[in-house]
Amino acid sequence: MPETGYSPTEIMTIAAARKLQNGTVCFVGIGLPSAAANLARITHAPDVVLIYESGTIGAKPDVLPLSIGDGELAETADSVVSVPEIFRYWLQGGRVDVGFLGAAQIDKFGRINTTVIGGTYDAPRVRLPGAGGAPEIATAAKEVAIILKQSKRAFVEKLDFVTSSGFIEGSSGNQQAGVRGRGPTTVITDLGIMVSDPATRELVLTTLHPGVTVEQVKETTGWNLRIAANLEITPKPSAGELSALRDLHARTVAAHGCTGCPE
């Protein structure tokens, strides 16, 4: 544990959790997004509605799921529906306020690559898991928040593959494609928070976590990152937030043998 009293991953998770307002309907990805969404639920947002693509609506897990379809999600959900129903009636139906996603690579517009790295699509250097629900979450959710640790490998000038975007370049593109959401609007990292410029969609660094410098962020970002005129500083994690998060991870380790999140 660094002398700050919390780890970079902890403040990233807590900063992401703070973005979820009470009563929000959140379509949750597994791993860090799930940890942040459940932290929000057990702290300031008890009525947040968590939807997992496995068909669990209003899940309230006491321990973090290791997979998107853990039994804990079904047991605590208000309703468990089929996978086609969750994508058609609930996601495509326009009922999701925010999509909470992770990624392997993102670009300056918050577009995501989880398909291939290096080589070609047919002969990639590294084959990643693929799209999953991301392309339609990015389109159908009213907005998308991405939670990802910073590194030049992850924050790149040009994606090897655009798996998920949520928008079409050009002013009228989205209207033509019937896109109703705003696409990726926020990226929460272990160093700070980036918010997309509504005009250009380019991510702008707006917030630094305590003790982090702009240089640290620039050094771990693969493009020439825009910096907001007046940078904010993330309020330090409260004792309550830290203990809630650590208790959640402790319960998860006790149940599963691990947290299901990168450390």
Partner: protein, 288 residues
């Protein structure tokens, strides 16, 4: 009408070389026992279809059963990558693996179209994504009423769908509960349907609006207790997370993978023997 057979008989008669086969399950009720039997019977040239290919597809791909994979997300849930899947795509070992890649929403819609007797599905998909550039099965269609341009993809209709469920009754009616995933659609979309079940009971005791497959849409039912291990069966046993982590090590190298598959799958007669074999060898703690 459903017949009751051993899994060996079911795979022998209902799964053929070159088939398009969907072994479905969305992180729950994954038909591992059935996948092992397909490996034992050395099926070849299969087009494997699955929204979420995981360990069992990693094993089938690594053992050379598949020439093609149709999928939307391939990984080891909560652990990481599928090394055999990666090796096949990246280096073509043991065989080149052609891939056809969609999103979850698309795959789910394609199964629905197959179950509905429609040739295609319509969705709002792939906005700004590169996937349609690499998959000609993702086309567009224009709404005749609003002029909106939407995504169209072809129906999925597997030659055979294999799923694992909690219960069947003695007539062959099947009850699935918990996270029901895409199993009903995958079964109704297929020409032939194999269902492995935890147990066969006198009365399903299904709630009125439960997910039930009537006996007459099922080809064959096989009683295989624990048949979803290392995934879980709601109401019966939990996921074996230790095994999923162990698999990451076992499958990393071709040699360790082949040795393990030979020892525990090819050298065992059925799933019960396989379970005893891995329990003795790996000390895998199964909750089954």
């Amino acid at each position: 009408m459903a017949v009751f057979e051993s899994l060996r008989e079911a795979v022998a008669t209902l799964v053929h070389d070159g088939d398009t086969a969907a072994l479905e399950g969305f992180t729950h009720l994954i038909p591992f026992a059935a996948g092992h039997e397909v490996i034992r019977q050395r099926r070849r040239g299969l087009t494997l279809v699955r929204m979420t290919p995981d360990l069992i597809y990693d094993q089938m791909i690594g053992m050379g059963c598949a020439s093609r994979l149709v999928f939307s997300w391939g990984g080891n849930p909560g652990v990481g990558s599928l090394h055999r899947f990666r090796d096949a795509v990246q280096t073509g070992w043991p065989l080149p693996l052609e891939i056809e890649e969609h999103s979850h929403a698309d795959m789910a819609a394609r199964y629905q179209a197959g179950a509905s007797g429609l040739p295609f599905a319509v969705m709002r998909g792939y906005v700004g994504s590169d996937l349609p550039k690499f998959n000609k099965r993702i086309q567009s269609i224009t709404c005749p009423f609003t002029g909106e341009v939407l995504t169209a993809t072809p129906a999925l209709s597997p030659d055979v769908t294999i799923i694992h469920a909690q219960k069947a009754d003695r007539k062959g009616n099947v009850l699935i509960y918990g996270i029901i995933g895409i199993q009903k659609e995958a079964a109704l979309a297929a020409k032939r349907v194999i269902v492995t079940v935890e147990e066969i009971v006198d009365d399903l005791q299904a709630p009125m609006n439960a997910c039930v497959l009537p006996a007459w849409v099922v080809s064959c039912i096989c009683e295989v207790p624990g048949g979803a291990h290392p995934s879980y069966a709601h109401g019966y046993y939990k996921r074996d997370n230790a095994f999923c982590k162990a698999w990451d090590v076992i499958s990393r190298e071709r040699e360790t993978f082949l040795a393990w598959m030979n020892r525990h799958v090819l050298s065992t007669a059925d799933f019960a023997e396989y379970r005893r074999s891995i329990a003795a060898d790996l000390r895998v703690t199964s909750n089954a």
